[in-house]
Symmetry: C2
DNA sequence: AGTTAGCACTTGAGCGAGCCGACTGCTAAT
DNA sequence: ATTAGCAGTCGGCTCGCTCAAGTGCTAACT
């Protein structure tokens, strides 16, 4: 592992070599074939001869930015080469054609369902970047209850519905001491709502400990509410939506060489969710290239992702995964745009942060 | 396309040949290698010589039950061969080890969440059959509302929560004429519940047309409720959970030959859901083998699936997909068991059918 | 009739040789 | 510092070969 950092630390690359490296990376991203000095000279207006380019490429190779499949082959970017490219060109805005329209058509605010939004977002993103896309629903670090409802099912069973602060719903079966009419259940729920509306798990626990709430049914409902909220905080309850594995597998790297099975296994377990756990700050698009990943299974791939949601509120993650030879500028632009779009929707669902 | 039906119509296969065909299919399912006459003679107590087996196999080939990759190779079952096998051995119960325990451990009734059940069911099934598993949530052909709730979000927006007869939840944003306190919203919801509890879409529409409900807010809530229910009936709102693509791609047919990309694309679009639309009666496990499928994309695969849920009530589908060389007895047993298990859970959520 | 032994024949898989084309690395000239 | 020219390297491809597995057929047997 030679570790050239793409930063000032490294012995400076003269301007022409920097430009050359960028061209090499972007050409390889486009063609998926090792790029040779002659092709570079022919296809781009470099005003130098192939021999000069060869010299420069030898230098780039020595510094670890590119490597060669074999001695007599062209250059292929290595992870630091992609990193250089991302730092240099990553901020450019390169949304796919009609991307905004496609997003607006696919995602309907009035559905009010973060799960539906996430599913559509994953679909749009996948088809935009031609790779696998992942979107999760949102979740708050600190769960608060907004309102509860108790619905009679039959005999001595009822459904406890909890509406959370971020407008997400959770449900659970509760067992009643006796068959209780719906009217009474509604009353209990209303009384409970007066008490606990807006409370966090901790506050609910305090209330419970104080014993201030009486009645068997109320206690049961409160207990289960606490359980739901603490599950919410403890477990990863975000729903994940995946789309576009087919797009990803159509990339040439999977035709020969890379194993489609490995890629599929990444989806079956929770690797991807794990990398998402280290969520970046909202509005920051994070790029993890190949070996940079902490997760061994993800090493052969790159991931571009961002957090979306309300600041200090409910947050989810949206991102894309593909071979390290992925279109970083396009991916970053698309992810950035979608994250912002979803953030708006989610923020419209809950009170603005000042209210708390 | 020669079309031998596996039924009495076909010129009778003598008993030995039937037994032989079953052995060939099951051996091929196990080993994934063309089965030869010598191996059959060696590994099974057939009490006849390889030459005789060759004669029988020639007959089986002529009748379309098996085919050969090339002239000097063993036999592999063709679709009608698998069909014969399924009809003959399909009813045998061959659950994987500890399957029941695994199911019970993975699926928690108290969660009361059909989505969570479906997700867990897909996971268990996938690992049991070593193939892709799909489970959907449930949906009623005729939606009924059980209860609604209106939750104030902020300013002039509120969340309409609809609890359906089968205990599923739906939500939608509604825009209020003016900023209305939660108390009032709760009252409106309670009034509305008196009126509409248990109603179907048609009944709600009649009510709406009658103009018997007054008040702007009530009307809005009613309108949106109708919209939710009719969406429910019109659209495919079942959530699909997939698991085990990695298992499926680890099957030898994908190592060389079959395209993993094609398989992945089947998942990205909705082919599978389409085959599920022709739901079998509950408790019937349906098997679609290769070319038998109406859907072109599914032709290279087999699908084993069953409907689960309450009779005349909410139903969902669970099934597995894999190469035509899949373990049908195991798949059918597992699907049958899981469908029955899920049915119990779903039925416990809603009033027994007589009540309606 | 049905079954079996024996044997010639077919075929895919694996292996190595050899050729071709693409590209580099190096040297020497500008 | 750049460039032309050229020898050298290497992967990919094709061809031909051999080998092992397994069949299809014929003739003998029960």
């Amino acid at each position: 592992m030679s570790e050239p950092t793409a930063n000032p630390a490294t012995p400076a690359l003269n301007t022409r070599r920097q430009a050359l490296l960028e061209i090499i990376v972007s050409d390889y991203i486009e063609t998926a074939a090792p790029v040779s000095s002659q092709q570079l000279a022919r296809r781009y207006e470099l005003r130098v001869s192939p021999a000069t380019i060869r010299n420069d490429m030898a230098e780039l190779e020595e510094m670890g930015y590119i490597s060669r499949p074999h001695t007599s082959a062209g250059g292929v970017p290595s992870d630091p080469g992609y990193r250089f490219y991302v730092e240099r060109a990553g901020q450019r805005n390169r949304l796919p054609r009609h991307f905004q329209e496609r997003v607006r058509d696919a995602i309907d605010f009035d559905e009010a369902d973060p799960a539906a939004w996430a599913r559509s977002a994953a679909r749009v993103l996948a088809s935009a970047v031609h790779n696998l896309a992942i979107a999760t629903t949102v979740k708050r670090a600190i769960a608060r209850v907004k309102q509860v409802q108790i619905v009679h099912l039959h005999d001595r069973e009822a459904l406890l519905v909890v509406v959370m602060q971020d407008a997400q719903l959770r449900q659970r079966i509760i067992h009643l001491g006796s068959d209780t009419p719906q009217d009474e259940l509604t009353q209990v729920a209303n009384r409970l709502n007066q008490l606990i509306g807006g409370m966090s798990t901790a506050e609910l626990r305090t209330l419970w400990d104080s014993g201030a709430v009486g009645g068997h049914l109320v206690t049961t409902a409160l207990t289960e509410t606490i359980r739901i909220l603490s599950d919410e905080e403890r477990k990863e309850t975000r729903e994940r939506y995946l789309n576009g594995l087919g797009h990803m597998l159509s990339q040439p790297e999977f035709q020969s060489g890379k194993s489609a099975q490995d890629a599929a296994e990444v989806l079956d377990d929770d690797s991807i969710t794990r990398i998402f756990d280290e969520s970046p700050r909202p509005a920051e698009v994070r790029v993890v290239i190949g070996q940079e990943s902490h997760d061994e299974h993800l090493r052969p791939y790159s991931v571009v992702y961002a957090t979306y949601g309300a600041p200090d509120g409910a947050t989810g993650v949206i991102g894309t995964m593909g071979p390290t030879r992925m279109d970083y500028t396009r991916s970053m632009s698309s992810v950035r745009y979608l994250a912002a779009f979803l953030s708006e929707l989610v923020q419209a669902l809950e009170p603005s942060p000042q209210w708390q």
